[in-house]
Assembly symmetry: C2
Homo-oligomer: 314 residues x 2
Amino acid sequence: MLPTTPRVSKVITVLSGGVGAARLLRALSQEIDPRELVAVVNVGDDLVLHGLTICPDLDTITYTLAGLNNDELGWGLRGETWRVMEELDALGGEAWFRLGDRDLATHLYRSQRLADGATKTEVTAELCARHGVRVTLLPVTNDAVATEFVTDEGRMSFQEYFVGRRHDVVVRAIEVTGAAAARVTKEATAALEGATRLVIAPSNPLISIDPMLQVPGVREVLRARREDVVAVSPLVAGAALKGPADRLLCELGHDATTLGVVDFYEGLVGTWVIDEADVELSEAITSRGVAVEVTTTIMADPQNARRLAKVVLG
Amino acid sequence: MLPTTPRVSKVITVLSGGVGAARLLRALSQEIDPRELVAVVNVGDDLVLHGLTICPDLDTITYTLAGLNNDELGWGLRGETWRVMEELDALGGEAWFRLGDRDLATHLYRSQRLADGATKTEVTAELCARHGVRVTLLPVTNDAVATEFVTDEGRMSFQEYFVGRRHDVVVRAIEVTGAAAARVTKEATAALEGATRLVIAPSNPLISIDPMLQVPGVREVLRARREDVVAVSPLVAGAALKGPADRLLCELGHDATTLGVVDFYEGLVGTWVIDEADVELSEAITSRGVAVEVTTTIMADPQNARRLAKVVLG
C-alpha cells in the first residue's frame, strides 16, 4: 500500500518529532481537512531492539492522531498491558525500554513488513490506514539514520541516552549516523516542495528536527522556501515543556531560549510563533528579518491548542 | 554464560525434536540426576518471524522441563495471554503463527542476545538457567539450518507447512537448507561422543531427527556408536501420536510403521524400544540384527512415562 498522494496545492507539511509535533498535528487536523496535512517525520531515534524495528516518533504521532495515546505516561498506548515486558524482565532481558503488549504488535507488524521488502514509508501508511489516521505520515527517509550522543561517559545511542539514562548525562556532541548518505523519500520531497506552507513543529531542534535537516535536500528546500516556513518555538521562557531541549542547547553552546532556537534555524524560517511568556523577545527576532506571532504555545488545554493551530495556519 | 559441561562419564544424550522428546526428557529427568542428561536438539524448524528468532523445539523442551508447558494446547506456556497477537491480528499482521505474550518474551530475549553476539547455545543455557532447567539443552548447531518442504503447491518453510497448512498438503521431498554446511557445536559433539548412552527420542524421524543427522558428523557418531544407541519408536500401530510422521513416511516412500522407522535409521541403532501394540514386529526387527525392548511408549500417563524411562535407561 503506497501512501495516498495528497493534493499538493493545498497541503500543509509539518516537520515533526514526537510528542510536541503530535499535539500540533492533532490541533491542525481539527482546523483543516486532515488529508491536506502531511507530517515529514524524524527517524533518527528509530532503533532495532529484540530484533524489532521501533519508530518512536512515527508511532507517537500515529497513536496520538488515532486517539490512542497514553496521556498519563506521555508515550505509548492507553489501556496498555505489560505481560511481555514483565516476563522479559523476569528472564533478565533488556526491559529498560518499555514496550507495551499492544505497542509490541506495531513493532512486530513493522518488522515483518520490512523483512518482506516493504519500505518504512509503506509500512507507516499501512499502520495509519489501520488506525484510521487520515493525516499523511512520511518518514523523512527510508534509509537507516541514527542519532547518537557523544557524552562524558562515552558514545550512546538515542534511546540509551534518552530512556536508559533519562537524558541525565553531559552531551558534548550529537552525531546523526547515516544522515549524509540518506536519501529523502520522493513522497517527503514532494510534500516539502509542494506544500503551501511548511511548519517546523515545536519539537526538539537538536534531536528531532536537525536529524532531518542533515538529510541532503531537506535544509535546502527550507532555505529556498523560507518565506513559507512557520516555526513554533519549543521553548517557553527558556524551558522545554518536555525533554532535554533546553539543557542540550546549553551544553552544545546555544542560547537556551527561544532566541537561541531562532538562531539555530537561521535562514530557514520566515515566521516564528512564540509563546506569550517570550513576548519580550519579539523585537530581537524581528530585528533578524523574521516575522513573529505571539500566542500560547502550550497545548495541554484544547482551546490553546486550537488557537495555536489557527495562528500557524493564519 | 556458557552451558555447564556435564560430567561426560555418566551422561545420557538424547537426540530431540519437540513434544515427544520433551516428554521423554521429563520422564528421564525423574529417574536420573538431570545434570547427567543432555538433549541435542533440532533447530531445523527455527524461524525468523516479525524480526524474532523462534526455536520451537528448544522452547517446547525448556517449557516442559520447567513445568510451564501448556498441556491443553500441546504447545506454548500455560496460563498464557494473547494481547500482542490480538492486536497484530487487528493490524492485519501475520498472526497465523500464534505467539503468546509470555512466549514472546522468550523470543525477544533470544533475538536481542543473538544480536549482541551470543550463540544459540549460550542463549539456550541462559533461558534454561532462568527457568531452573537442570537438563543441558544443546542446539545441534549454532548455524542457520532450515527444514523446507517441496509440495504439490510449491516450496514451503517448516512453519508454513506445519502451522500455516496444518501439514495437510502432499509432500514430495524434504530439504534441510544449510545442513551440509552447518557445524555441530563442540558441546553437542562432546555430548554425542562422550555419553554412556545415546537415545533417539520418539520424535518425527523425517523432520525432527533427520535434520540433525544431516549436519556433518552427527550420523557418523551414531554409526560408530551404534551399540550404545537406543531409539524409541515414534509410531504406535502405524500411527503417530502427534503430527504427520506417519503420513510423511508414506508420502516419501517409507513404510509408515515402526518397521519403516527402523529401516529409516538403519545402521544407527543398537536397541529399539517399541510399543506393546507393535509386539508382532519384534521378530522382524531382531532379524535386522537389532535388539528390541517392548513396553508402553505412550507417555500421557506418568506411570507409563516412568516405565518407558526405565526401559530406555535399563
